[in-house]
């Protein structure tokens, strides 16, 4: 960026600052809105000449964000064409929930977790009231503003679900946040898929690492079943009719308490309701917001008192590339960008440690949330045994013929992304 660029105003209104990241459909840069003095983030959407015009994903985002204005949804401030490219102007957000969860220096109290979850659910409730499914809920799409407000962002996968019989693709969400009905290939799904993802985020806030880290779709279901037990026909009658349904070896559910030893009863009750197998019986976002967890002590922390990562130095992030950590969730359609550089992941060492300590901690019941340090909070067990080859207790199995069949199917889907 030259000095000239810095002084030049885009569309007579925005003063360009540094580049924040490179996305799937173009560069994101920081700017000052001279009309309001506000710091904004501008997404430049590249328009390929002679191709298919305005990017489809960007158009979805424009369409839905123009309809939804809410404190817990990212605001689309403006849109304008400039030099043949479409530019979207968003409010500038300092950080995101993933950075908060990964930051070892941050201690999240039960009240902090409650506050972050409450804002997530409130944003989601607004979408669902407008009949919009977000379909890409994950911590790094939950942005955090300067006053601690959490806002849902990245509506590139969102859709209006008005027509009850319309068929959707099941290749939505980063894998770790995908609901079991999606993993079984359902084409008719509803707001419950966002609730499942929100539950994964809730669990991630409690554990300080992704809860169910499947390495493939099949493995993802394995991780889910290991955590909650293989669903029975009575729990989820429609399961066996789903397009990609395969029978998994039965594993009983370990007590949920054993996975979240330091969590309050109310939190655990809500978590269980959000992780209900049958989407028809899964708690709705509105019901979740009204759950007693949010009205019982400790009350949610007010947003501007929430702990956040230390502000980053401006120059550090000026160069970011499409960056998908190898152990990260694979997003199938469409490929996603990563907006920010993520802090070092601690997942692997953590998991190794937890595997060793697995048996010691299962039976240990901790009481009274809030009196533990963040170090303690990270101790509970992992369900991610696969990478280290540690004996996987109760690992669900499916026979090799099924696996080949499913893999072939998945490969096909990779070749023909929607």
């Amino acid at each position: 960026m030259t000095e000239m660029d810095l002084s030049k105003k885009v569309a007579d209104r925005y003063l360009k600052r540094e580049v924040l990241g490179e996305g799937t459909y173009g560069v994101v840069y920081k700017a000052i809105d001279t009309k309001t003095g506000q710091v904004v983030a501008i997404k430049k959407i590249r328009i390929g000449k002679q191709k298919e015009g305005v990017n489809f994903t960007a158009l979805r985002e424009i369409k839905l964000l123009k309809e939804i204005k809410d404190p817990n949804i990212i605001e689309l401030i403006d849109a304008f064409p400039h030099k043949g490219n479409l530019h979207l102007v968003f409010e500038f957000m300092e950080t995101d929930l993933e950075a908060v969860i990964r930051d070892r220096n941050i201690f999240l109290s039960p009240a902090d977790i409650k506050s972050y979850l409450q804002m997530t659910l409130k944003g989601l409730a607004v979408c669902h009231k407008k009949w919009v499914l977000h379909r890409d809920m994950k911590p790094n799409n939950l942005l955090i503003g300067p006053n601690g407000q959490l806002k849902l962002a990245d509506f590139g996968l969102a859709r209006i679900f008005g027509s009850p019989d319309r068929r959707f693709t099941h290749q939505v969400f980063a894998r770790w946040y995908r609901a079991p009905e999606l993993l079984f290939g359902t084409k008719q799904y509803g707001p419950a898929v966002d609730v499942w993802a929100a539950a994964c985020i809730f669990a991630e806030l409690l554990l300080r690492r992704p809860f169910l880290q499947g390495s493939s779709d099949i493995d993802q279901l394995g991780k889910i079943f290991a955590a909650f037990g293989t669903p029975t026909a009575s729990q989820w009658p429609d399961m066996v009719y789903l397009p990609d349904y395969v029978e998994y070896q039965y594993v009983p559910a370990p007590p949920l308490r054993s996975l979240f030893p330091m969590t309050s009863d109310d939190a655990l009750d809500l978590l269980a309701k959000m992780f209900t197998y049958d989407p028809k019986n899964r708690i709705s976002v509105q019901q979740a917001i009204e759950h007693r967890y949010f009205s019982s002590a400790p009350l949610p922390t007010v947003p501007d008192k929430l702990p956040r990562p230390a502000p980053k130095r401006e120059s550090v992030n000026s160069k970011t590339s499409d960056f998908n950590p190898p152990e990260g969730p694979t997003v199938l359609s469409p490929p996603r960008k990563s907006r920010r550089v993520m802090p070092e992941r601690e997942g692997f060492e953590g998991n190794a440690y937890q595997n060793d300590k697995f048996d010691d901690h299962v039976s240990e019941v901790r009481t009274g949330p809030g009196e533990h340090t963040s170090r303690n909070e990270q101790v509970p067990m992992s369900l991610d045994f696969s990478i280290f080859g540690a004996r996987p207790p109760n690992r669900p199995t499916i026979n090799s013929a099924d696996r080949t069949h499913l893999k072939r199917k998945l490969d096909l889907e990779f070749q023909h992304p929607e």
Binding site: K51, G53, I62, K66, P81, V132, G162
Partner: protein, 251 residues
Amino acid sequence: MAANFWTSTHYKQLLDPEDADVVHPPDRERGITVEDFKLIKMQMANYIWKLAQSVKVRQRVIATAVTYMRRVYTRKSMSEYDPRLVAPACLYLAAKAEESTVQAKALAFYIRKIYSDEKYRYEVKDILEMEMKILEALNYYLVVFHPYRSLTHLLQDAGMEEMTQFTWGLVNDTYKMDLILVHPPHLIALACIYIASVYKDKDTTSWFEELRVDMNVVKNIAVEILDFYENRTSISEERVHAALNKLAMKP
């Protein structure tokens, strides 16, 4: 109804009837009258329809495309935004916005098939450029509500399912007018049901009374639709052609 109409940007953008048919100064200077203006918009609605039949998109996409076109001309002049390009570009954008993308290439192909006239000849590049200009003219508001869904529900509720085809056709014809810019879609649906019940001698008075809607509004819309059918006989290709030719003239 998908999403809530009363909180939508569609509702907030509804116009007064007088504001829907304002001829912009550059067009007026070229001699375009209100009649010409209406006629061209109607012709373009037909054009979008024909193109849509060729590329096979849902009714909803057609309705959205026509609505976009009509919204564009509440803000932009026809001399600046050639209707013969705006129409296909609106269809292109609407198909994307309604999640059933149509290739610009396919549209360019069918344009040539439908009209041999040079003045209709636009290529992929033109459509894509116009797409961006339309987005801007629409102020990026893309969600549109249509009467079709309420129509189905209302007919069911009134026990008049046998009228579906007839009323559906009436609703289709309402897109030849600016009704969608002025009235909430469910009132347009009710007006069509009202016309159908009068036309087919079906007594629906008590059913209408039970709905909590302003029957005066419904009747007014119905009258507008009937007026339109009455006047339509006098519309000819030549008149449309003459109107379009005025646009090309220097003021």
